[in-house]
Symmetry: C2
Subunit: 441 residues, 2 copies
């Protein structure tokens, strides 16, 4: 099967574990059998591979997520890069033409589109494969997966089917209703619209050419900023007469808030944390090294990361966004394709960060205009290149780089490198960076 | 007036703001008129100076608190150092002989002893002066201050006076009672015993010589480890027939738990923190740079420091001690006589700290057996001495020191220095330190 995973959103609702550079799908919060933790995107990718080892997986996402994606699921997936945010129809059209023009997948083949962030089990992916088969057989131009509602929710759109068969024709779509209307819909057999659907590639390509003026993938990519913002539902689904919906009644949880996310946690505490025996329905998620102690807490979530600390009543946590919007905060932790960094100290004319390079990986060869940097290697082995000069590097080595000087560090194949980088300058900014190409021997 | 302030205790009940090296009296939590914050010890010292600018203040404390005391109240107080913990009678006897033998205060002069950690107002110090005057006049051998009870507390000892006069003879002492008995005591005019008393120096010196075999202050200091542990109440107060008690009904709050401490906070949030409008009776005390956000919290205290994060129901917070005892944690922040340090990163073979040197101050001249160190100066100016060689130091300078190498850094008179110290070695420990004398030019 061919899957397009839509990976979007800045995920402020899960602050402080998500932020402008780390979306919620990258938070490592789900316990694996081996006791380590994986993120939503890692979990979903692993599940897809379990059900269909040969699936082609394409992630449609923005530039800001590429480093984290590569860090977490490696080079094994294709990425359809959205040059900017243009709503779901252009994003799906771009990814579909990427599959056709770059991956050379035929127009008659089916593709499944689904968001990367629901919390699901294996049966979900079996259903996705069935959905792909439905589209493949030409059952309808568009084949949706409809979620069996568990309560009259006001936060989903509803799909009204012709009947209650496992697969039926769609009569109409309804926007998010109030609870009473939702109950009426459910009584009529309606399903939640989870944004999961399948189609033959040629179908969406034709729609795309009808609505946008472009030749092929490269052309659409280059014009992407000028295309109209429009949702897939509005541009395609709501106008299409030939739509089928397949019922899904397995487990499917939206992980949009701390309230729903903590429900999916297998244990109350992740990271260094303790809850005393008088706590009830309380979770700690602690990404810091220092301990968190909770005493006498009821229905509370405590989340701590290098970005900040949230202590919230679980119900209240869904109202977090405006508070986070007001913060305008320094990014304190980021996953990059080559590793990660954590900010340790910020002063008016200096910043100190801890850098971890994955084995065999290296930073871009780059320079800064307005700051000097000092690398204090604290563990691992590798080599540095500074203004073209290569040197071996190991724990205890100190490398000083004046502003303007080009530099990179390369970790040996079998050794991660950790270093303390001290930046000194009057105007320290992540934007102050010039990249250069480099031929590595 | 002569005052002995008893400054003791590791203060685990106020974790994570107090710890093994920082007792609760050093937490800067009380807002001053200029908007900055002061600690209990700074507040008390300032209040004493307001009421009696000529008071001689002697702090009886242990070695672990000297650095923080000097950092917070400077060189203006005397310190009577307790070589080890030997309960209150030896501590008071040692401080009293210090006043007599070192400070040369006469045997007929009165001295007031009080703990450093209650939260009080100016009237308390006016009362202390009255108490000192009572002892001075020879009203009784021992003059106590008794606190007018505000409820039948089970956590204080009670003083039973002869009558309800402002000053009266003490009939007897009673240990912490249950609430019903406490109510009976209060009905009889009893007072809380706050551990505040005055006496003539000669009185306690005589008692000390009766109970301990020593010549003078130096002799007692050198023998201190071998003297018996015994409380002042047991050794002196409970056996003394001539005791007067002076009633005090002004403000006097015990700051022993987060519950009582937060009551004394002028505003709900100290540091970088936000409470949404659905929070009630909730406090944030945040010593970290990153924001704390509280939502929908009732009767909660959130305290965050480099040592850890506490989130507790206020009532429950009094049960914190066993949880903190179990932590055995790395000290992450310490105030020293020359400045302070914060631990930024701890790895198996390295540790990174941020060091702040106060203007004109310097570290001990010292070396380490088992670790190399690198100083990255991030701001300020001064000079380093490394194996006897002196060099100027300013922002951007890097100084590398191999294990065994002697080193110090001296901040210029008008400039604090901040530096990132990277320690590298297999067995990093605060105990691995050899100090050397150094003549500074």
């Amino acid at each position: 099967m061919h899957i397009i995973l839509l990976s979007g959103g800045s995920g402020k609702r899960l602050w402080p574990l998500s932020n402008d550079v780390r979306s919620k799908q990258f938070i490592k919060i789900f316990k694996k059998e081996d006791g380590t933790y994986e993120s939503m995107v890692q979990r979903m990718y692993r599940q897809i591979r379990t059900v269909d080892p040969d699936a082609t997986v394409t992630v449609a996402t923005s530039k800001s997520q590429i480093s984290a994606l590569r860090n977490q699921i490696g080079e094994d997936v294709s990425i359809s890069l959205e040059p900017c945010r243009r709503d779901t129809f252009p994003a799906i059209a771009l990814a579909t033409s990427y599959l056709h023009d770059v991956e050379k997948i035929g127009e008659d083949e089916a593709v499944v589109v689904c968001p990367v962030d629901p919390y699901v089990e294996k049966d979900y992916f079996v259903a996705l494969r069935d959905l792909s088969d439905l589209a493949d057989k030409g059952t309808a131009n568009l084949c949706l997966m409809g979620m069996q509602p568990t309560y009259p929710s006001e936060k989903y759109g509803y799909i009204i089917p012709e009947n209650r068969d496992p697969v039926s024709k769609v009569l109409e779509f309804r926007e998010k209703p109030d609870a009473k209307t939702a109950a009426d819909y459910i009584a009529r057999g309606a399903l939640w619209n989870g944004g999961i659907f399948a189609y033959r590639i040629g179908y969406v390509l034709n729609k795309a050419h009808e609505l946008m003026d472009f030749e092929d993938y490269d052309d659409l990519f280059s014009k992407y900023e000028s295309v109209q913002k429009i949702s897939f539902d509005y541009a395609v689904a709501e106008k299409e007469p030939s739509i089928a919906v397949m019922r899904f009644s397995g487990s499917w949880k939206d992980m949009g808030t701390w309230n729903t996310l903590t429900e999916a946690m297998e244990e109350p505490v992740i990271g260094n944390g303790t809850l005393n025996e008088t706590c009830e329905n309380t979770n700690i998620i602690n990404e810091l090294d220092v301990p968190v102690l909770g005493m006498g807490l009821k229905n509370i979530v405590v989340a701590a990361s290098p970005e900040g600390i949230l202590v919230s009543d679980k119900e209240q946590s869904s109202y977090i966004k405006p508070y986070v919007d007001r913060m305008h905060q320094q990014v304190m932790f980021a996953e990059k394709s080559w590793g990660s960094y954590t900010v340790l100290d910020v002063e008016s004319t200096s910043m100190t960060i801890l850098v971890t390079l994955l084995p065999g990986h290296h930073m871009n060869y780059h320079s800064h205009e307005r700051r000097d940097e000092i690398w204090n290697i604290i563990s691992g082995t590798g080599r540095t290149i500074v203004d073209g000069m290569e040197q071996k590097a190991c724990a205890g080595d100190v490398i000083t780089m004046q502003a303007g000087c080009r530099h990179t560090i390369i970790a040996d194949e079998n050794s991660p490198i950790r270093l303390i980088e001290v930046q000194i300058g009057k105007d320290i900014s992540v934007k102050d960076k010039t990249k250069y190409s480099l031929e590595l021997s």
